[in-house]
C-alpha cells in the first residue's frame, strides 16, 4: 500500500481537527450544564459538590414558570405568523415572476441582517403609539419579524429544489390554485416549512433584545428573566434554567433532523438496480 502511514496520520489529524471544531462550537454552551448541579450558592466553574436543589428551586418559583409560559405564548404565535407570511413571500418571489422580486427578497431578509437592537429601537415607538408595548401582541409581532426571514429562506430553498412545472402539471390536470398548493406544492416544501417554523420558534425562544424593549414583568420571556436575574443574583438557578433552555433547543433541532430523515425516506431513493430491473 502506497503511503499507508502518511494516509493514516492525515486521517487522524483531520479527525482531531473536526473534534476540536465541535468542541469550540459546543463547549461554551456545555460548561453551563455542570455548573447547574453545583452545591455552592454562587455560579462557579469547576463546580464543587453535586446537588439538584437549583432545579427543585426552579420548580417552586412562579416567576420562572410564568416566564417559560410567556416564551411559549409569544414564540408559538410568532412562529406561526412567520410561517404563513414566509411561505406566501417565498411562493411570490420564487414562482411569481415578479419584476421587483430581488428587492422583495432583500426587504424580507433584512431583519436577519439587521442588529436586533436597531429593530428593537425602531419597534419601541411604533408599539408605544399602537398601544401594544409590554403586551403579548407587540412581542409576537416583533418576533414574527425576525422569524419571517428564516422561514422565507428555508421555503425558498425548498421551492428551488423542484421544477415549477409540477405546479403547472397539477393545474393542467384540473387542480385549481388552492388544490395544487395543498396536494402538490405543500408536500414538496413541507420540510422547508417545518424547518423554517422550528428555526423561527427557536429564535424567538432565545431572543433577548426585542423582549427587553417590548415586554414587561408580566409578559417577560425566559431569556429576559435570565438577564434580569444575572444582574441581581448570580446563583446556579441561572445555570439550571440555561441548561433546560439548551436541552429544549437541542430537542427542537433533533426533531427537525428526525422529521427530515422520515421525509427523505418517503420516496424511495432511486437506485440504478431497481431502474434497470424495471427497464428489463
Amino acid at each position: 500500500m502506497r503511503g499507508g502511514m502518511g494516509a493514516t496520520l492525515a486521517r487522524g489529524a483531520f479527525a482531531l481537527f473536526v473534534a476540536l471544531t465541535f468542541a469550540y462550537l459546543m463547549l461554551p454552551s456545555l460548561i453551563i450544564v455542570p455548573m447547574s448541579f453545583s452545591s455552592q450558592s454562587y455560579l462557579s466553574f469547576p463546580p464543587s459538590g453535586f446537588s439538584l436543589r437549583w432545579y427543585e428551586g426552579l420548580a417552586g418559583a412562579p416567576a420562572w414558570r410564568a416566564a417559560a409560559l410567556n416564551s411559549f405564548l409569544i414564540g408559538i404565535p410568532a412562529s406561526l405568523i412567520a410561517v404563513v407570511l414566509g411561505v406566501l413571500g417565498a411562493l411570490a418571489v420564487e414562482r411569481g415572476a415578479l419584476r421587483w422580486g430581488t428587492a422583495a427578497t432583500a426587504l424580507i431578509v433584512a431583519p436577519m441582517m439587521l442588529p436586533h437592537v436597531i429593530l428593537a429601537i425602531g419597534l419601541y415607538p411604533v408599539m408605544l403609539d399602537l398601544g401594544l408595548l409590554r403586551g403579548y401582541l407587540g412581542a409576537i409581532i416583533g418576533h414574527a419579524v425576525i422569524g419571517l426571514p428564516l422561514v422565507f429562506v428555508s421555503v425558498s430553498a425548498a421551492l428551488r429544489n423542484y421544477s415549477p412545472s409540477l405546479e403547472l402539471a397539477a393545474m393542467i390536470c384540473g387542480a385549481d390554485r388552492l388544490r395544487s398548493f395543498l396536494l402538490v406544492t405543500f408536500p414538496m416544501i413541507r420540510m422547508g416549512v417545518l424547518g423554517g417554523g422550528i428555526l423561527a420558534f427557536a429564535t424567538s425562544f432565545d431572543e433577548l433584545m426585542l423582549s427587553l424593549f417590548l415586554t414587561n414583568t408580566g409578559t417577560r420571556t425566559l431569556p429576559r428573566l435570565i438577564w434580569e436575574q444575572l444582574n441581581d443574583f448570580l446563583t446556579p438557578t441561572i445555570a439550571a434554567v440555561a441548561t433546560l433552555v439548551f436541552a429544549f433547543s437541542l430537542l427542537l433541532f433533533a426533531s427537525l433532523a428526525v422529521f427530515g430523515r422520515a421525509a427523505k425516506s418517503l420516496p424511495a431513493p432511486p437506485s440504478l438496480a431497481t431502474a434497470e430491473r424495471a427497464h428489463a
Binding site: 402539471a169 397539477a170 393542467i172 384540473g174
Partner: protein, 378 residues
C-alpha cells in the same frame, strides 16, 4: 354551459382504434408581446380534430410562448384560442380540459405511478371504480401494468415519460400538448418513444400539439408542421411539402440540409427550361417557373446531387474539387469546392460498388433540373 372538465364516458374499448376523435383548435390572431417586444406576432393556426401537429423553430422563435398560451400559463396580449369553437383564452389552465406532457416529465414525486395517473381523475371527482378502471387501462396502453405501485424515482426516464403520457391522456382531454417531451432522453430511447407516442395517438385519436426543436422528430411524427422564426409562422404544411417546397431560405435550411444559391439573373432556355445565374457565379438549370427571378433563391438538397469523375448526362454539371469527405451511418458526406470558392454539400448513400472520391480529387456534380428548387425570398 357544461363543466369543461367533465369526462366523457369511458371511450377506450380495446380494439376500438381511433374512434375517439380529438377536438379542433383554432388560433385567431393570437399574439404576445412583453413591453412592446413581440414574442409572438399575430398568428393564425388551425388544427383539425385528431391531427398530430408540430411546432418547430429555433429557441426564441415563439413556439414555447404559443404553447404556453394554449395551455393557459401565459396570458395572450390579443387574439382568440378556440377549442371546438369555444374561446378558452381567458380560462385558467384547470378549466381548459387539456392534457400536457412536459420535457422533465413533471410527475409528482411523492405519489406512486397509479396515484399520478389518478390525480386528474380525482380532480374531476370520478367514482373510485371508474378511476381504478382508467388507471388499469392507461397502464396497459403504455405497457407499465406491473408498475402501478412504484414511485417515479424508481423508473427510468423513458418509463417516467410513459407514465406522464398515461396521466395526460387518462381523462380524454380535448387536446394533448407536448412540450419537447423527448428532449431529456438519449437518442435510441427517443426513437423508441416516438413510436410509442405515435401509437398512443393512433389508439386514442386525440388532437396533439407537439413542440420540439428537433426537425427530424417533427418530420417523423407529424401530420403537419408549423415552422416558427422570430415570433412568426414561416410556413405551415405537411413535412414533405416543407421539405420539397420551402417558402423561404430559412425554412429550406431549417428543415433538413440545403445548398442555397441566391439568384442574380435568369435567362430562358428552351425547352421549358431556365438558366439561373447565381450570385456565386454558377450557372444552374431549372424548370420553367414564373416566379424565378433575381433576388430569389434556389435550393439543391445534398442527397439530390450526384458526384462523379466525369461530367454525366444530367443537365447540371459543375466541376469542383473534394475538400472533405465524412462517413456517417449509411451515407457519405462530401464537401465540394466549386467555381468561386463556393462549397456544396453532397450526401450519397453508401453503396458497396460506388467509388469513394478522395479528398483533393477533381469531380463533377450534377442533378436533375427538377431538383433545383425555387425558394422565394420572403
Amino acid at each position: 354551459m357544461p363543466d369543461p372538465r367533465a369526462v366523457e364516458p369511458f371511450p377506450m374499448k380495446p380494439g376500438n382504434r381511433g374512434k375517439v376523435s380529438g377536438s379542433s383548435l383554432r388560433l385567431e390572431a393570437l399574439e404576445k408581446h412583453y413591453a412592446g417586444v413581440f414574442a409572438l406576432m399575430p398568428t393564425d393556426i388551425e388544427l383539425r380534430p385528431g391531427e398530430f401537429f408540430s411546432l418547430i423553430g429555433p429557441s426564441g422563435s415563439g413556439k414555447s410562448t404559443l404553447l404556453g398560451m394554449v395551455a393557459g400559463f401565459v396570458p395572450p396580449s390579443g387574439g382568440r384560442i378556440l377549442v371546438d369553437g369555444a374561446d378558452v383564452a381567458t380560462l385558467p389552465p384547470y378549466r381548459r380540459n387539456l392534457g400536457m406532457v412536459f420535457q422533465n416529465y413533471a410527475l409528482f414525486p411523492h405519489m406512486t405511478v397509479a396515484e399520478n395517473i389518478a390525480f386528474p381523475l380525482r380532480m374531476r371527482k370520478l367514482p373510485r371504480a371508474d378511476i381504478d378502471a382508467r388507471i388499469a387501462r392507461m397502464l396497459e396502453v403504455v405497457r407499465l401494468a406491473s408498475f402501478a405501485d412504484r414511485m417515479p424515482s424508481q423508473l427510468s426516464g423513458g418509463q417516467q415519460q410513459r407514465v406522464a403520457l398515461a396521466r395526460a391522456a387518462s381523462y380524454n382531454p380535448a387536446l394533448l400538448l407536448m412540450d419537447e417531451p423527448l428532449g431529456a432522453l438519449d437518442k435510441n430511447l427517443r426513437e423508441e418513444m416516438q413510436y410509442e407516442i405515435k401509437r398512443l395517438h393512433r389508439q386514442l385519436g386525440t388532437t396533439v400539439l407537439y413542440v420540439t426543436h428537433d426537425q427530424d422528430e417533427a418530420a417523423t411524427m407529424s401530420d403537419r408542421i408549423a415552422i416558427l422564426n422570430h415570433g412568426r409562422v414561416a410556413q405551415i404544411g405537411r413535412p414533405r411539402e416543407l421539405y420539397e417546397a420551402p417558402a423561404s431560405p430559412f425554412v429550406a435550411s431549417f428543415l433538413g440540409e440545403a445548398n442555397l444559391f441566391e439568384v442574380a439573373a435568369v435567362t430562358q432556355a428552351p425547352p421549358q427550361r431556365m438558366h439561373v445565374e447565381t450570385k456565386e457565379g454558377l450557372t444552374l438549370s431549372a424548370n420553367q417557373h414564373a416566379h424565378l427571378q433575381g433576388g430569389a433563391f434556389v435550393c439543391v438538397r445534398p442527397e439530390a446531387i450526384q458526384i462523379a469523375k466525369t461530367a454525366g448526362a444530367l443537365p447540371n454539371a459543375i466541376a469542383g474539387r473534394v475538400i472533405d469527405v465524412v462517413y456517417t451511418a449509411g451515407s457519405l458526406r462530401y464537401r465540394v469546392e466549386v467555381a468561386g470558392g463556393t462549397v456544396v454539400l453532397v450526401r450519397r448513400p453508401l453503396q458497396r460498388q460506388a467509388p469513394v472520391m478522395e479528398v483533393g480529387s477533381p469531380v463533377y456534380l450534377s442533378w436533375d433540373v427538377s431538383d433545383t428548387i425555387l425558394v422565394p425570398n420572403s
